[in-house]
């Protein structure tokens, strides 16, 4: 199609056009150079949405839980909801099969819901590089809540807790005991535990086991921005729609507690700072080392140092000195 100009894109976005919303996310994913200016104009309109991350092992039923939460909040008519669902890219072909929509069908056709599937591409930590920006686009679109579902592969997916206000860890009977959860670092990152598939046996035991572990290691459950929050362990069945009210209420309660303690705004400021730091890092990395061997302003120097057998620390220090020397000359 004839792609319209960027100004027009923002105008259409401001009118709430879903195709404009979708295109902005595509630009973020493609690292399109024009996205930077568009994003800066949107940034002022972000920060309102409650950002909720959902993580947990594959097959725990994260998408089904998201679907039930969508249904709950939409039936209560609590405003727009955005969903960003990340699935893994194939390290071999770079392609991806994004299937989260299969389970998120109960609010299809609801104009107040926007669901976007995203491939993790070259990012690690359970998210895609553009997932934060996609959440921001949905925030600016007017979402009251933005749900971010992680890949669910691997044990450590801390990244989601850094970019969300509230992190929900979804487990299911059979996903291992509390030692597994502890190993994976889930105890300290969860604000809410959802034990899904409670229609199957073992939910009660897993819940009790987790509760006990949380009790024993209450020192671990140290909330970064929030004092006195004890992560509730809730048993739900997304299939039967059971326990969803309590889960939604716990998520909303965590937001209220963040606001009460003044942490909601603080988290946003810290998040934006982290975003800027990441952008600086990426820009500098691209400038000095580019992509691939010998690329960028310092790529060749690095290769020469390696050839000369220079120690890694000494070489790094010399390259840093060159960078700051060059900056002073400018």
């Amino acid at each position: 199609m004839v792609e319209r100009a960027e100004g027009d894109l923002l105008e259409r976005f401001a009118r709430g056009e879903r195709t404009a919303c979708a295109r902005l996310i595509t630009l973020a994913e493609a690292r399109d150079p024009r996205f930077a200016a568009l994003y800066d104009r949107l940034a002022a309109r972000t920060g309102h949405a409650h950002r909720v991350g959902l993580t947990g092992p594959p097959g725990a039923g994260k998408s089904s839980v998201v679907d039930q939460l969508l249904r709950h909040w939409r039936e209560a008519d609590l405003g727009k909801i955005g969903v960003v669902a990340v699935d893994p890219s194939s390290p071999f072909s770079g392609g991806a099969l994004l299937g989260d929509r299969v389970r998120m069908s109960s609010r299809l056709g609801d104009p107040q819901v926007f669901i976007r599937s995203m491939a993790s591409r070259d990012a690690h930590g359970g998210l895609a590089h553009a997932s934060v920006e996609a959440c921001d686009v949905l925030d600016a679109w007017g979402a009251e809540r933005v749900l971010l579902e992680t890949v669910g592969v691997g044990q450590v997916e801390y990244e989601v807790s850094r970019v969300c206000d509230t992190t929900v860890v979804v487990l299911h009977p059979g996903s291992g005991d509390s030692v597994q959860a502890m190993k994976a670092g889930l105890l300290e990152l969860a604000h809410v535990f959802a034990i899904n598939k409670d229609d199957q046996p073992g939910g009660e035991r897993l819940a009790a086991d987790l509760e006990e572990m949380l009790e024993l290691r209450s020192d671990l459950v140290r909330e970064r921005a929030l004092l006195g929050w004890k992560p509730p362990v809730l048993r739900v069945s997304a299939r039967e729609g059971r326990g969803i009210d309590a889960l939604a209420n716990a998520i909303d309660a965590h937001r209220r507690e963040l606001e009460r303690q003044g942490a909601f705004a603080e988290v946003r400021r810290e998040r934006r700072a982290a975003h800027v730091r990441a952008l600086v890092e990426a820009t500098l990395h691209a400038r000095f080392f580019g992509s691939g061997r010998g690329a960028g302003e310092l790529g060749e120097e690095l290769e020469r140092g390696l050839d000369a057998g220079e120690g890694p620390y000494a070489l790094a220090a010399r390259l840093c000195a060159r960078i700051s020397g060059e900056e002073q000359q400018r």
Binding site: A5, R18, T19, D32, F92, L97, L98, L108, G109
Partner: protein
């Protein structure tokens, strides 16, 4: 004015099964073949209405849609998808498909703006290559 060099952008394809037939093996085979060729495939599952398919295409900003149908209802469902797609402002999206579609129906649908439709026995690489080429052609035509 497509956002990026065609080679840099991942092609996003929606694979959907409209209507009531419950046979999604073909759709899954195509979806995984496209993935193995580097596409990002959004798979929506069985029993999709034309409205659901077009809504998913809007939100996912896809470059192409592949409809899989074996029930014989293609002449009722396919034109509706095309009409809703145009109404949503997505007439640039490559709309293709496959399944049990008699040649004359395929010709009629292609006359209505459908891209090539594939029948039984088509190799997955033929489908992948076709979609890749057709999407690249469209995006370079859009940028002209």
């Amino acid at each position: 004015m497509k956002p990026e060099a065609p080679s840099a952008k991942k092609i996003r394809v929606l694979i959907a099964k409209p209507g009531l037939d419950g046979h999604d093996r073909g759709a899954k085979v195509i979806a995984s073949a496209l993935r193995d060729r580097g596409f990002e495939v959004i798979y929506t599952g069985l029993h999709q209405t034309p409205e659901m398919i077009v809504e998913a295409a809007v939100q996912e900003d896809v470059d192409a849609i592949g409809l899989s149908i074996l029930s014989g209802a293609h002449m009722a469902l396919f034109p509706k998808v095309k009409r809703l797609l145009d109404e949503a402002g997505l007439s640039h999206v490559l709309l293709t498909g496959g399944g049990i579609i008699p040649a004359e129906d395929a010709r009629a649908l292609e006359a209505q703006g459908f891209a090539k439709l594939f029948g039984p026995g088509t190799s997955t690489s033929e489908v992948c290559e076709y979609i890749e080429r057709a999407v690249r052609e469209r995006s370079s035509a859009g940028s002209a």
